[in-house]
Symmetry: C2
């Protein structure tokens, strides 16, 4: 054990000893002359990093001493307040570089009163700013850390295992007690210890329950960093973020289609597949685990890192994906009472999930599920968006194949899940497709001429731009993605092409030849590229019905939670999900997807579930926090709630644009069209009734 | 949860309530009328079994109420002291039988003062008597128990996982907190709970550190029993005992040759194999794990039990076997300082060791190693023979390919290992073979005629019996096993065929034509079956040298420990190991294998290592005890101790029989022969010098 760590320092209360003040923390104390700055920092609980334990190897403990008068602190710092620049620092600066004015905290010793600044990169618990609308700090405190240790050599007269001496070293030098190791690491241990001449760097995983587990080890000093994966396992796509566990940086983000789609587009069809086909759940489990390995391998290649340095994975997903990833038959989730096999968070070995593409000793954390229909993805959204800390009443909607809905504030949070189906993702739509280059994502329809213009993914120009045709030559115009379908239906309603019941008018009724008959109903032709060998992209009556069903389900879910809370309105709305990032709040409100709310109070949180996964990856305290919060969230089961059906039916109509949309005010005067009252929703349905 | 378990009983101090006295424990208390006997027993801490938790299903809580006057206790028990025989008991007796006078403790309710006897089979912590020379009680307290629980059904309004409700039930009904389960069990959980209509029997493993782990589960009430394997993994043989975990019964014992023999006969040749052949350690690991699976499968077949009911395995073995079983390269054990990768006990999953032939969720406990040369087998011997509890100074010798030696008493225990080589097991002996039918195991040589007689394994007759030839027709006479070689060398010395230095005399010197020349030395022909197509079995000068080396190593090890303790002599000797059961103490002492000690103080403990494994299997307290004791045992490393070499050389001679052998007194007068003084030991070597 290093002398530095055991060197005694006298009580910080003694006035005769040099005073040391750390900034930015403001922590201060008196220390015996000769005390290394790192030792003083540790004794005061100052957040100063060190991997090598004060041996001048890792340089993580860089500090900036301040000299001269510090009136604020009432201190004068003399030029010799710290010991002289030494050979270790000199060698380090020469070989690896050190910013002028910086010292190594383990080498610089206190000689007089001094003010010491700990720069951000020397803090263990670095603050990471989220790149999102709501600025939020994530403090780095991952489960897995690197520690450099010097292990006692074996002694025949005091026989003990190499592992026992490693554990002892870790306890003495890092205060980490009770290390455990799996056999594959015990197998490698002896070789690594001898290669490193009894100096090794170990990666130790400590979960929020305190269990210390050896993950990997390297001879001598190993710089790192280690990496983690935050995976949002959706029904349709699997999205992964590769994060640096030392500072939270996202090195790469990548996605894959969920291979289970071949067994069923939506969750219930996959549950059915498992029910109808013996071993079907095993097939789906193997498929998704394989894809996760592919994704992990490709994201490591993309980032140019060794996949063996990926030591942790956090998963968030809905309950069916949850069970299928874990290898549990999801059949019970397909029928009331929708019982989960297990609802709590899980701490697993990567090999339990066949995670072979990354470090073989990697650990997995799965966020808790909230209920049989409200999964770990919703828990992750709650972790990311923190409705439980909101002063005002916030509605958070994570739109995917299922919509996860959270409503609440610091007093109470409610959650439910609503079966919107895949229409919002462009599936079950005649010209629908997933969000990919060539897909129509933005639409405007002129209320007078009824002519559309649109934009496709991969091109910044609108379709009425002269350069558009040339610019989209590569991708073509291939279909409509989820955000596009919402916009076009809303625009059709605003342009008077669709009535409140959702019926598309004929060419005669609407005055545009873009409305064409298709059997007994009509369709609106958005784009006709057939003369250039392209598709004809239109919105059919069936498409409108699919969107009506989806948006009714979403709206009814939100309404049910508002009923439960006795809320007449919400203060703000957060749209989450990969889709939430692209959705137009204005069109969503025109469509009646979400309750009324001032437009400026509708924000997008991007992939909030993925962000929640990242937070849980970077901070183990967040794991404990969300586990506790999930226990407090009140779950509302839409499937058995009669009012859900009522809200659902009532929400079927597409409401007319009304007051909350200042920039749509000119449209309010448009005549209310009604082509046919035998449709599934009357003109007085929808919003007005829902408000009653 | 059952009413029975929650029914409150008033303080046992109240004098107005019925007095209940349990025998044989003598525990007593006052209980409210209507309290079931089982409830009273639990509140008093009386050892009364129950698997079903008082639901009248398992019948484990049978009790025998006593009626009439109990002067000793000052109690009169009225005929109506317990509630009437009820329908549950009636049905049980009718269908499954119940001894007259017995009641079910969960059904019989206290109505008045009563004396209740708990028969031995109703006690959880049954006492098991070891069938061995030293009578010893093992209290049953295995790690894995069965518990019957009633689990709450899922409720959509209070969503929680099925596993969480099972855990809650186990905590409420059995006070077992924090249950954990691996994914394969979570996968099966939902089906079993529904099949059992929310009543299940679970096998829960609780190690001596308190962690509760689900091992298996069955719908409804499952009778059991569960089984465990105690495995002594020797260099030469793998011995397994199949034990009933409810009462400790050994259902079957079985053995296999260690398949690693093909990589090297002794430990160091296997270490060499691993050093010389890349992947050689992996080959040996796979071979031994495969054999253990075969052994487990065959022992289950032999006992006629379902191998899935085998839920625990305890292993004891020397350090090299230990590392090779765990999949750790043993190379460090082949060179000073003989560092173990890990020395402590291990609690593993069966699958970590590829134990596929038994329950897939089985647990493994590996006893701790004492030092690099003194393994878990020696720890198991210490657990079985308890030198640390001995009033007198006991020397315990476990003879195998390596000899494990323990010396001590309640004040201090020392241990070492001595490299005897495989000669004592019949290997490296010209006519040697392993102990199997046809092997010579007992030998006597007439000191006058120099003619031998012998017995072979599989036949109770001596070779000079007229019926011997016919009786051994099937097996033949095939070689000499380990105990036979010790006897024949000792008998040769006693008959004056061998001098103190170990040299075999010629026919002229010894006066028998059985001494025949073989090159420059002589051999003694024990049996010549060549005319019947059999072998000629003789003892060569090389055989004598091999035995001298082996016994010198053993003796030197014991002497080293005696030196360390400053002991002139030992009070008693325990011979352990499969071999220890067959060895003749008299001949061992003639040979100078073990220090002088009155013959009646030399006992055999049979396979003490295997017994230690069984104890650790049946009682988790024993695991904690041996872990603590191993830390206290003082290890002496023979390989680096100069005195070991001195003792080894000094012990080379074969001492003459002296006073301690009363029945050999006539032989003391035989002339001391010395054929050649140029041998490796003089006549004054050996014992006399060793005593100085």
């Amino acid at each position: 054990m290093s002398d530095i760590l055991t060197e005694p320092a006298t009580e910080p209360t003694s006035g005769h000893l040099p005073l040391v003040i750390f900034t930015p923390s403001g922590k201060r104390g008196h220390f015996a002359p000769g005390t290394p700055v790192l030792t003083a920092a540790r004794q005061l609980g100052v957040d100063l990093d060190s991997v090598c334990g004060g041996r001048g190897i890792c340089s993580k403990c860089q500090i900036t001493p301040g000299y001269g008068d510090f009136a604020k602190h009432g201190v004068h710092v003399a030029p010799d307040a710290l010991s002289e620049w030494n050979a270790v620092e000199d060698r380090y600066k020469r070989i690896r570089g050190l910013i002028d004015g910086r010292r190594l905290g383990c080498q610089a010793k206190i000689q007089g009163d001094v003010v010491i600044d700990v720069p951000p990169e020397s803090q263990v618990h670095k603050q990471v700013i989220r790149k999102s609308a709501t600025v939020r700090d994530i403090t780095m405190d991952p489960a897995t850390h690197l520690y450099y240790v010097e292990v006692d050599e074996p002694d025949m007269h005091e026989p003990s295992g190499d592992f026992q001496r490693l554990r002892q070293a870790l306890a003495q030098q890092w205060q980490i007690e009770g290390l455990q190791a799996d056999l594959p690491l015990l197998r490698r241990l002896q070789g690594v210890l001898r290669k490193g001449e009894w100096k090794v760097t170990v990666a130790v995983h400590r979960d929020h329950h305190g269990q210390a587990r050896l993950i990997d080890l390297w001879p001598g000093y190993f710089e790192g960093p280690l990496y983690g994966l935050a995976i949002d396992l959706g029904s349709t796509t699997i999205a992964a973020h590769l994060c640096d566990l030392s500072d939270g940086t996202v090195l790469a983000s990548s996605g894959l289609m969920n291979p289970q789609i071949r067994f069923g587009e939506d969750l219930m069809s996959r549950v059915s597949y498992a029910m109808m086909n013996p071993g079907g759940d095993v097939e789906m489990t193997q498929a998704v685990r394989q894809s996760i390995n592919s994704l992990a391998a490709s994201i490591a290649t993309e980032a140019g890192i060794d996949p063996l340095r990926i030591v942790e994975t956090v998963f968030v997903m809905n309950p069916v994906m949850h069970h299928l990833l874990l290898g549990i038959d999801p059949v019970e989730l397909g029928q009331a009472p929708f019982a989960l096999a297990t609802s709590e968070s899980l701490s697993l070995a990567g090999r339990d999930l066949d995670l072979t593409a990354i470090n073989p000793q990697s650990r997995v954390y799965v966020l808790p599920c909230i209920a049989g229909h409200v999964g770990a993805d919703c828990a992750a959204v709650a972790l990311s968006e923190e409705p439980d800390k909101s002063e005002d009443l916030v509605l958070i909607v994570d739109v995917g194949t299922n919509a996860e809905i959270l409503l609440g504030n610091k007093d109470r949070v409610l959650a439910c899940s609503s079966p919107t189906g895949p229409a919002f993702e462009g599936a079950q739509i005649s010209s629908g497709q997933r969000a990919a280059p060539g897909a129509i994502e933005r639409v405007e329809i002129d209320p007078v001429t009824k002519e559309p213009r649109f934009r496709v993914i991969g091109c910044d120009l609108w379709s009425d731009d002269p350069a558009f045709a040339e610019a989209t030559k590569q991708t073509g115009i291939t279909g409509i993605c989820g955000s596009g379908i919402i916009e076009v239906v809303a625009e059709m309603r605003l342009a008077g092409l669709v009535d409140a019941g959702g019926l598309i008018g004929s060419a005669e009724q609407t005055g545009t030849s873009r409305c064409v008959p298709t059997g007994r109903t009509n369709a609106y032709v958005l784009y006709d590229g057939r003369d250039q060998g392209g598709p004809r992209i239109s919105v059919t009556q069936g498409d409108i019905r699919a969107i009506q069903l989806a948006k009714s389900a979403l709206y009814a879910g939100a309404q049910l939670l508002m009923d439960e809370l006795g809320a007449e309105h919400v203060d703000r709305i957060v749209l989450a999900g990969a889709f939430g990032a692209h959705i137009s709040p204005r069109h969503a409100m025109v469509l009646g997807m979400i309750p009324d709310c001032p437009l400026e109070k509708v924000t997008s949180a991007g992939n909030a579930a993925g962000t929640g996964a990242r937070i849980a990856l970077c901070n183990i305290g967040a794991r404990a926090a969300i586990e506790a919060e999930v226990g407090r969230i009140h779950k509302v089961e839409t499937a058995i709630e009669p009012r859900f059906q009522e809200h659902f039916v009532a929400a079927n109509a597409i409401p007319h644009a009304t007051a909350p949309f200042p920039n749509l005010s000119t449209l309010v005067t448009l005549p209310e069209v009604s082509f046919n009252t035998s449709g599934s929703g009357g003109t007085d349905g929808g919003r007005r009734r829902r408000r009653g």
